[in-house]
Subunit: 350 residues, 2 copies
Amino acid sequence: MPGPVKLAVIPGDGIGPEVVAEAIKVLDAVTAQSATTFEKTWFSLGAARFLETGDVLTDADLASISAHDAILLGAVGGVPGDPRLKDANIERGLLLGLRFALDHYVNLRPTHVYPGVPSPLSNPGDVDFIVVREGTEGPYVGNGGAIRRGTGHEVANEVSVNTAFGVERVVRFAFAQAAQRRNKLTLVHKTNVLTFAGGMWQRIVNEVAAEFHGVSVDYLHVDAATIFLVTDPARFDVIVTDNLFGDILTDLAGAISGGIGLAASGNINPDGAFPSMFEPVHGSAPDIAGQQKADPTAAILSVALLLEHLGLTEEAAAVTSAVTADIAGRSSGARTTSEIGDAIAHALGA
Amino acid sequence: MPGPVKLAVIPGDGIGPEVVAEAIKVLDAVTAQSATTFEKTWFSLGAARFLETGDVLTDADLASISAHDAILLGAVGGVPGDPRLKDANIERGLLLGLRFALDHYVNLRPTHVYPGVPSPLSNPGDVDFIVVREGTEGPYVGNGGAIRRGTGHEVANEVSVNTAFGVERVVRFAFAQAAQRRNKLTLVHKTNVLTFAGGMWQRIVNEVAAEFHGVSVDYLHVDAATIFLVTDPARFDVIVTDNLFGDILTDLAGAISGGIGLAASGNINPDGAFPSMFEPVHGSAPDIAGQQKADPTAAILSVALLLEHLGLTEEAAAVTSAVTADIAGRSSGARTTSEIGDAIAHALGA
Ligand SMILES: CC(C)[C@H](C(=O)O)[C@@H](O)C(=O)O
Ligand SMILES: CC(C)[C@H](C(=O)O)[C@@H](O)C(=O)O
């Protein structure tokens, strides 16, 4: 990549700044010797910024972020129930705001059970799959409304909007991933109930399948998929699913693979029209913020996804192996957030 | 109850008839000595009937079923991918058809880890909770549509419809259950994204909470709820949630508690305006149908819920303890469907 990579860093709220500090430490360590350098711009966005200025995501913020090559985000969201945040909805305004504005139509969430990680499952098996979650449609579009609000006659609707354009591009991405992995794609939806949206997803998967002869395709209802995620998660290679089902399945996937503290994600615009954004799947966890209790591993693995996305394959692999080694050596003795980051950065030569 | 209980029996498809046969065996055994007798009417409904007659659920079916005091259902649905069923959607037409027509606004799904049951979780803990799933609203209403179908410009929408009337009645039922249990109610939704529907659910839970001072209330996003279902399922007492989230959570709950073969459910109209319907959570499993491989326990536990609903508390408790004892004595040696039913019926005096 010619010139430095322009990286927008959004530490956010709660444990966000702590885990991002370690992620950056690791990024610096792994790129210290590489030809590619990173030029970072810090953005102060999130609940704290909203409480100071009243802004969640301004046009100027968006323009400035868009001018970067990639984004690293920690976590956003204030203390639940904070009355000052009542009407703000930082998650919708900022996190979904960025995903939608930057057309992050692929929300890529890998799940891997690392050797040595304690799983709540007695026998998880050899788990290594990715969820390709659609990121710009479905029930997340915000097309809801209510009448007679606050009364006993209220009607509150939510519209899931799904387009052939939007579904096809993410399905195509998922097939391409499967073709580079174990050649298995599972569509998850609820076609027996959501017949319109589900029918279209099924049709498009069938159509795109014709272009990927090597990839075998199966289908699970979302309820059945949760069963398999606890009884036989090793059966999955690539799951492709809508925005809401993907949200649910990836938290569950994080839990079975040893905790949401390890789950990384990429919000990707494969077309490259907008910068992609990498973030841990976990939230801002205000209850443990500032205490050096958070596990920065998910944020660090998000850096690996970011490096991979930028084509820095060797650096990505180095981060992943340093993390794998670190996890394998973990004992029950708790380390601080920065001790974990230091150890991984150190393994990478820092 | 004066006079015999008029019970509509819908064995359905696949393993439905097999498991229902055992459920009826157990019902007969436990009521052999009781003052209450059961008058059963068998209804031949499901994929098989549709293939014969072209009917899924006629007005006459509905009128006849409605004239009963309660319904026992096995499972419905043909072989997935059967081209003759392509446009039928037996699940929607029949199962959801009954739930909606008979105003089954409470879909009650208990989860209990029975002593001796192998769970996929290494340490499930003391799991005993119920999910009160709304049964007549949400994304299940069928208010979807599509334009430009089959083209690259298709738009397929699904509308989740939620009413204060519908939410309040199910929330009130859930609070009443919590007050009779461990006084803890968890609302599960996705309020940060589905702000209209989620906001109304949250408001109504807050309002009804004021009438149930003894019940403590908490809230989880649906994604976080799936995490707790695998990391700490014992934390739950009563979960109240919408139709789709309830569908997902109860399959997961079935899986962690030793398999969907044990999960019973009641589709309840608490007002008594329509007969309530009891059914195992599992589907028709055409792949193992007719082979005496299905576990009839979920169907038998559905009979316990049915007896409870009819006020036959002692009989309900007898079935539950016979099942508990049977489960505790299970070895890895497989028994046939009817062997399991025989054993439980025998323990009840048959
Ligand atoms: C915070 C929330 C809006 C978000 C989502 O639902 O997508 C989160 O749960 C996630 O999965 O990244
Ligand atoms: C068969 C299907 C329509 C049904 C549902 O989604 O409610 C089933 O999954 C259930 O949970 O009873």
